[in-house]
Subunit: 468 residues, 2 copies
């Protein structure tokens, strides 16, 4: 008997056009979750997803929430009751397409265009984030079913409709349906490749700790001539305190800030080093050139494995046109700390407050608003599933998969871990220039096709009990 | 023959009620210069002033400008062509009365109310700033005319109608009429007493240098997760640079910032020390207590004779409710430097720019906007006119007059000096709690009456050629 996988890959090659037609269908539905005007379209997208799952043999249904509905489908019995069982997560909702006048073609009229070195791409809102991506997985499942009548593993699919508006229904939904959704491992297809030729598995996501600090000086705004000198100025206090938050080497000066940082393993660091990441090129695309993070760490480390303190906003006093000779009563700043594995967001928040409190001069008061946090996620890449998935990707792309970090957070991954005790394998085929959340979003046809082939291979590898 | 001054003072005592009636008349006119709806009222106020001057023998006229009209009156020949010749300046325009709902009586229906330890006061917009104050001078002139048929000195009166909206017509008007307005000395009645019992002459006004600094980092706003670490954050750059502007003792760190500061004389400093200024009490009224200016200088010195760097406004990034994980492209701050005599605003601006430029990290750009400046004014109080005026005030109030500084600026004084080469004697009778620019503005009837008596005495002293 021929390798069962080869027949599946052949089927995917033969079915490229039909797969693209299916993708175009879902891309035509303007499922903008944040805008109530598109509620009907979100419901329609959910129905479409449920029908697509049913068409490939899933027991699927649309599940109402207080917001946009969820879609859940099970192909549990396909592979036998004792086969490894995976939960695949995607989302059918999309960002609003504004600004509309910057789209070269209408955002919900998907079309194919040339995409330079990447060949062709499909252009539409949601093409990459996340409709094109989750459809790679569904197409892989379809091919397995079409060729062999069954999947090599048991699969549950969860497709959310609120990812672009903060997933308000997700936590209660996971809680209410944990028996149905807690599986051996989660698969998420919402990340990118290292580059157009190199596949990647995202194995670290930074966590977050947010705070807003408000300094109050005088009880009212004062005339800066009649009071300037003896009167304390809260902007001066704020800039002096925040100006001391980093030293001249970019290191955060909160005592104990780095104490709990778990360093990536030497193998991991060697792999990153071998990537020869072109930091000046990465930064030049946004008008910069020199990495400004902690000295002594590469730009990739600054982005993936080092915590940061970022100022997101600052305001105080008169900010209109011209001059106003005022000493304001208040000044404030919003910060986010990006955290790495093993750091505790609460501990960081406490450390920041102690840092500010200890520098507060006489007559000033300080308030802290909007504190929230979530820890970083870092997977143990020595687990066999990462090795197996990396092998599958290398077999498809002809290059080793990169174990990447990610500077941002993907809340669903943290929810799976903290709520369901389930780890996640993050594989995605997006490219840096996919313009997600921006006009003219696109998804390379290569990403779409080789993505589906990659998932077909990964499913085959995961059928082996030993990798889970 | 009895002392001619005593008869004038007796006439002022006898005419208190009539004088108050005249003040109420001009207070009824809502001469709000900044609001075009009140242009007719400004014209009416100007006509009222011209008529009031004519009624006491001045050759007076309303003089059109491109804005509100000026009033000019001459009583030149009264005292003989070779008598000392003084220019008195006041303004008939007032601030808008908003917020109206905080007035206990309508702002343009002047009325008398009890004013605690100060006796009675007249309440109306403009009662203190500046109608009540300039009327003290006109009442003194009226009494001299009524009793002796002439003033003891030659007087030109200039009453402006745009002081509360930046005096846009003043510079061209001074230029076009310098022959008519340049006199031996200027008198301005727009300042305050040291306290309700102690007269004062203001002999120092701080100057001003304004700047706005704009730092640009990335070419667009960035996601703080996807770029935080390697991407330079312009808020971080701004707070680090501005946080270094003062040292821990409150001293400004711009190289050379204090080089040109002319210290007040030891006599002046001794007088200020003797005032036993209650800095904690002054600061407690605005919710503070501890002087926050340069260590080693008293609060009065910090306010009157030391330069400052004040932050008037700061803005950057996301400042709405909640959190936005952004690294902004730009961040900016507005500053004013208050200057003391002998400091050059241009030199201070250059020093500030060098301070920022030298601290600018890689990949950041800086722009400076809205630069303007005017030097401080400091009079040589050893000139005989100050001694003579101080003596006149002491004779009226029974206490030595304080030679005060002022933390703010009075642009007309600088204009008289730089445009007409004319020094100014700043005498006023306002009290700290007059609520100028605020609801329920008032002017003590004691300020009004003893103010007029004070001017009657000052005019007598200035008749002596030797003091000018």
């Amino acid at each position: 008997m021929a390798d069962p996988l080869n027949a599946v890959l052949d089927a995917l090659d033969a079915g490229r056009n039909a797969a693209l037609t299916r993708l175009m269908e879902i891309l035509e539905i303007p499922s903008i979750s944040t805008d109530p005007a598109y509620q009907g379209d979100c419901a329609r997208a959910a129905e479409w997803c449920a029908a697509a799952l049913k068409a490939i043999g899933f027991d699927a249904s649309v599940r109402p929430t207080t917001g946009q509905p969820m879609v859940v489908g099970h192909a549990r019995l396909d592979a036998g009751a004792d086969a490894p069982h995976l939960l695949f997560y995607g989302h059918y909702d999309v960002q609003p397409p504004d600004p509309l006048d910057q789209w070269q073609t209408p955002p919900f009229a998907p079309c194919i265009r040339e995409d330079g070195a990447n060949g062709q791409a499909v252009v539409a809102r949601g093409a990459s984030d996340d409709k094109g991506q989750f459809m790679t997985f569904l197409e892989a499942c379809r091919a397995w079913r079409d060729v062999h009548g069954r999947l090599p593993v048991s699969v549950t699919v969860l497709i959310e409709g609120e990812e672009e508006c903060g997933s308000p229904s997700l936590t209660p939904f996971l809680e209410a349906n944990r028996g149905e959704l807690k599986r051996d491992f989660a698969l998420v297809c919402d990340t990118g490749q290292w580059d157009a030729a190199t596949p990647a598995i995202t194995t670290m996501l930074r966590g977050l700790c947010t705070s807003e600090v408000v300094i109050t000086g005088p009880s009212r705004d004062l005339h800066s001539g009649m009071y300037g000198g003896p009167a304390q100025n809260p902007i001066r206090v704020l800039v002096q305190i925040l100006g001391a938050l980093h030293d001249e080497h970019g290191a955060v000066q909160i005592p104990g800030f780095y104490d709990d940082v778990r360093l990536p393993g030497s193998e991991q660091r060697d792999q990153w080093k071998a990537l020869e990441f072109d930091a000046p090129d990465f930064l030049r695309r946004v008008g910069l050139e020199t990495p400004a993070g902690e000295a002594g760490h590469s730009a990739l480390e600054q982005l993936w494995s080092r915590p940061t303190a970022e100022f997101n906003g600052i305001i105080g006093g008169y900010t209109g046109p011209g001059t106003k000779t005022v000493i304001p009563s208040k000044a404030s700043a919003k910060l986010t700390f990006r955290l790495v594995p093993n750091q505790n967001p609460d501990k960081i928040a406490v450390g920041f407050k102690a840092f500010v409190d200890s520098r507060l001069p006489a007559d000033c008061a300080v308030e802290y608003l909007g504190e929230s946090g979530s820890p970083a996620v870092g997977f143990d890449v020595s687990a066999p599933i990462f090795e197996a998935a990396a092998q599958a990707l290398e077999e498809e792309w002809g290059k080793p998969a990169v174990f990447m970090g990610c500077g941002g957070s993907i809340p669903i991954v943290e929810s799976f871990q903290s709520q369901l005790g389930m780890e996640t394998l993050l594989i995605g085929f997006a490219l840096d220039d996919d313009q997600i959340h921006s006009p003219n979003e696109k998804y390379s046809l290569t990403s779409f096709h080789k993505g589906a082939r990659s998932w077909a291979r990964v499913l085959a590898k995961l059928a082996d009990h030993n990798v889970l």
